[in-house]
Amino acid sequence: MNNNVQELQDVVIRFSGDSGDGMQLTGTLFSDTSALLGNGISTFPDYPAEIRAPQGTVAGVSGFQVHFGAQRICNPGDYCDVLVAMNPAALKANRKWLKPGATVIIDGDSLTEEHIRRAGYATLDPIAELGLEEYNVVIPDITSMTREALRETGLDNKSVVKCKNMFALGICFYLYNRPEEYAKRYLESKFAKKNPAVAEANKLAIDAGYNYAANTHQFANTYTIAPAPLEKGTYRSISGNVATAWGLCAAAEKAGLPLFCGSYPITPATVILEELAKRKDLGVKTVQAEDEIAGICTAIGAAFAGNFAVTTTSGPGLSLKSEALGLAVMTELPLVVVDVQRGGPSTGLPTKTEQSDLQQALYGRNGECPVIVVAASSPSDCFRWAFEAGRLAMEHMTPVVLLTDGFIANGSEPWRIPSMKDFPAIHPPIVDEAPEGGFMPYARNEKLARGWAFPGKVGLEHRVGGLEKDALKGCISHDPANHQKMVDTRAAKVALVAEDIPAQEVYGDAEGDLLVVGWGGTRGHLQAAVDRMRAEGRKVSLCHFNYINPLPKGTDGIFAKFRRIVVCELNEGQFANYLRQQFQQFRYEQYNKCEGLPFTVAELIQNFESLLK
């Protein structure tokens, strides 16, 4: 045993194993425990599309990366200090993510010829083959030690072996001086009713791992990470998808309308529908529709009937919803479409992140068909942007596309719980009775929003639909001048939203050598890169966008103050091209990546440095 405790600023641990090994749970328990200790946290689940991919293969490796530290953490870290690998395939898949000198913990029982061959190694010595001599490689026999520790539980071998992830968790708890209580309580509540023996076994496995680590001499040091100086308040851990669901609930509450969600399951957006299905306690109605089209069409019907209606999807689903989204534009009904972006095109990379649906959100419909587009930039701020999407949809009577992505949707972070009294009331232009002269469905207010008259309201009977409408009465009109007027009005209505949103901000100095421009879920990485470069005296600032259409006021003023502008996005330049169209007077450099992965801070800095030369 040793008591050589060192204090660290931040640590990245990557848990990896077969997709059935429980790595997501292991990582979540470690990050939640660290959050409870007051650390800053950012997590990144990285898993395959298959539920149980072939065991022991590199394709089947599931990973969960947690970055925790003594300050606010805004991204899950590029490279890891500790890699927990439950088999040779996990080691091979994650070799590239090791920091120099990192600790590698691999289950010794998994280093059999069969496993090594299945993982596709050329030799039978993975450690040498991967060049890990300079790393701190620890090879505990996790499976057999777990089996030994759980000998007396009476569980069958399969159930016992399933607990090996908790043994690994115990090792990490020891290594970073984390208490076991939270994880144990969680296991109790998860299994206690259904299977108390399994709960007990998992808890024993944590103890066994912890004790093994304490007794072995292989870990020269243990570490502590001080709590982060976070703002006082009540905190919770939240993922982007749950935050999105809750933000939609919040918008419904502030508008005083029931929330309706019509959706079809699709990775990585499904959790939003799952979470909203639980929220019947808040009066939420969910329809798991027969397809994506029915998802948005039920939502449009619900919007017509006077609910705050949403549909949630990912890229391929947004493609299917295109025609109906045009119908919502034409009927001028409030609707929020959440697109949790993933790698495309087509089925693409369902579980991997990308920002390549931007142009689809902006333009992917027939006709002149503008919608409001906003994007969230971190797991917890999905709440705020879902709320804002709802506010804009209902107050401006138009569909809004909210773009999140697989990275922030699945990632989680500690979140200081806001109070709903700090959020504004939402005032949709609801019409309760017919004005003198009769109700005109397409008469507009100062925002150019038309009145929202729900079926059931006496004297407000009216018809809407996808055919071009008379600018006032809403009946069918094929009149050329009327069509021009309606096209202009629908565009002007969306453009007017710029008056209802704050001006664009710049992070860092208002002028300098390089302006980093980003949007949506890349904020954590871009900000970390800009922070580091600024700490070294570089004149770099960040202009990060959440309002995409319309763009906030002041954008061009910010751009004009920098020598160079680089637009960074996880696609081939969709936002850059959009900016070129909007502000042609500037020259835009691009930094793009389509690997299904977030940026790394290191690659961003390298690119920015080269632009400063």
Binding site: D32, L36, G38, Y182, E231, G233, T234, Y235, R236, S237, W246, C249, A250, E253, P258, F260, G262, K280, D281, L282, G283, V284, K285, V287, A289, E290, I293, A294, C297, T298, A299, I300, G301, A302, A303, F304, A305, G306, N307, A309, E323, A324, L327, T331, R416, P418, M420, F454, P455, G456, K457, V458, L460, E461, H462, R463, V464, G465, G466, C475
Partner: protein, 342 residues
């Protein structure tokens, strides 16, 4: 029963009706506008709760001619939009006007799933066995071999029988009428409105321009209809013919047309229609009857009570969960589960 004293004029909008002269849609519109005052009273539904939803096609223009709430949606999606309307506000009386192209081709998926869920919608399916608004292409109900602009040598695909489809999709209500039979249409519409759950009324409708006389073999005139169709009414003998001399019996696992008093068949042998029977066997057989082998079945073929009505069940579940939950507002939600203080 309430008495609202509505007249058909209360349901007529100020829009000029623009279907072709002679189109069967005129008669269906007439039947609906004549049925609604009775429906309003029978179901205690005030004018402001009637909401008509449609997709695309000639039948879908219907909603513009109704002085009710109306939504003309996109092709095939009427049943999905209507499902959203009904779930959002179960108090509304939601009607869908749709066609054989709209609900059986592009919108087939929404049609069968709305039926399976038993959403409390009233669907009027205008079946003219052709695409009219696109000017004459074959539809999923066009007869095999039908020559149209897109099948110049005749179709090589078999048609759907909407009744079989509805009942196969677990439909709880199916009725059939002919556009010209305004009184029968009205009777079917009232029964559909009273039914708790999804009801489908198939209106055999004539497209005078692109598929004229497609139903004429059994529907041409009153005399033909008397001999070649059978109007089914719950609890009544399955009789037809000008003098109600013919009837249906069940023999060798099949329906058979007989003449009462001939071949040893008496009135006692004739089947009595039971629209409330849960078992679908006989209802499917009746819906599938085709002229000339059989008379075409009209009237309410199937009307079965089912406690699982989707929009009501959703509402009920919301109330139950609300009553049992400690989470009553978003603030409660945000503080639910594991939290910690800093």
């Amino acid at each position: 029963m309430a008495t609202y004293n509505y007249t058909p004029a209360d349901f007529k909008s100020d829009q000029e009706v623009r279907w072709c002269p002679g189109c069967g849609d005129h008669a269906i519109l007439n039947a609906v506008q004549r049925a609604l005052p009775e429906i309003a009273d029978a179901t205690d539904t005030p004018h402001n709760l009637f909401t008509f939803i449609s997709g695309i096609g000639c039948s879908s223009r219907f909603i513009y001619y109704m002085k009710t709430f109306g939504f003309h949606s996109v092709h095939g999606r009427a049943n999905a939009v209507a499902t959203g309307v009904k779930v959002a506000n179960p108090q509304l009386a939601v009607w869908v006007t749709t066609g054989d192209g709209d609900s059986l081709a592009i919108g087939g998926n929404h049609f069968i799933h709305a039926i399976r869920r038993n959403v409390n919608l009233n669907v009027i399916l205008f079946n003219n066995e052709i695409y009219g608004l696109t000017k004459g292409q074959y539809s999923p109900t066009s007869k095999l071999g039908k020559i149209t602009k897109t099948s110049p040598y005749g179709t090589v695909e078999k048609p759907f029988n909407p009744g079989e489809l509805v009942i196969g999709a677990k439909g709880t209500f199916f009725a059939r009428t002919i556009d010209m039979e305004v009184q029968l249409s009205k009777e079917c519409l009232v029964a559909a409105a009273k039914h708790d759950g999804m009801s489908v009324v198939e209106a055999m409708q004539n497209c005078v321009i692109f598929n004229d006389k497609t139903h004429a073999a059994f529907a041409a005139d009153k005399a033909t209809r008397a001999e070649r169709t059978i109007v089914l009414r719950h609890g009544e003998k399955m009789l037809f013919g000008a003098n109600r001399e013919k009837g249906l019996v069940f023999e060798n696992m099949k329906l058979k047309v007989v003449t009462v008093g001939e071949g040893g068949y008496t009135l006692d042998d004739i089947l009595t229609h039971d629209a409330h029977e849960k078992d679908t066997t006989l209802h499917v057989m009746l819906a599938a009857m085709k002229y000339p082998d059989y008379p075409v079945a009209l009237g309410v073929i199937r009307s079965v009570e089912d406690a699982t009505v989707y929009d009501e069940a959703v509402q009920r579940q919301v109330e139950e969960v609300k009553a049992a939950s400690k989470i009553r507002c978003v603030d409660d939600l945000l503080h639910s589960g594991a939290t910690w203080e800093i």
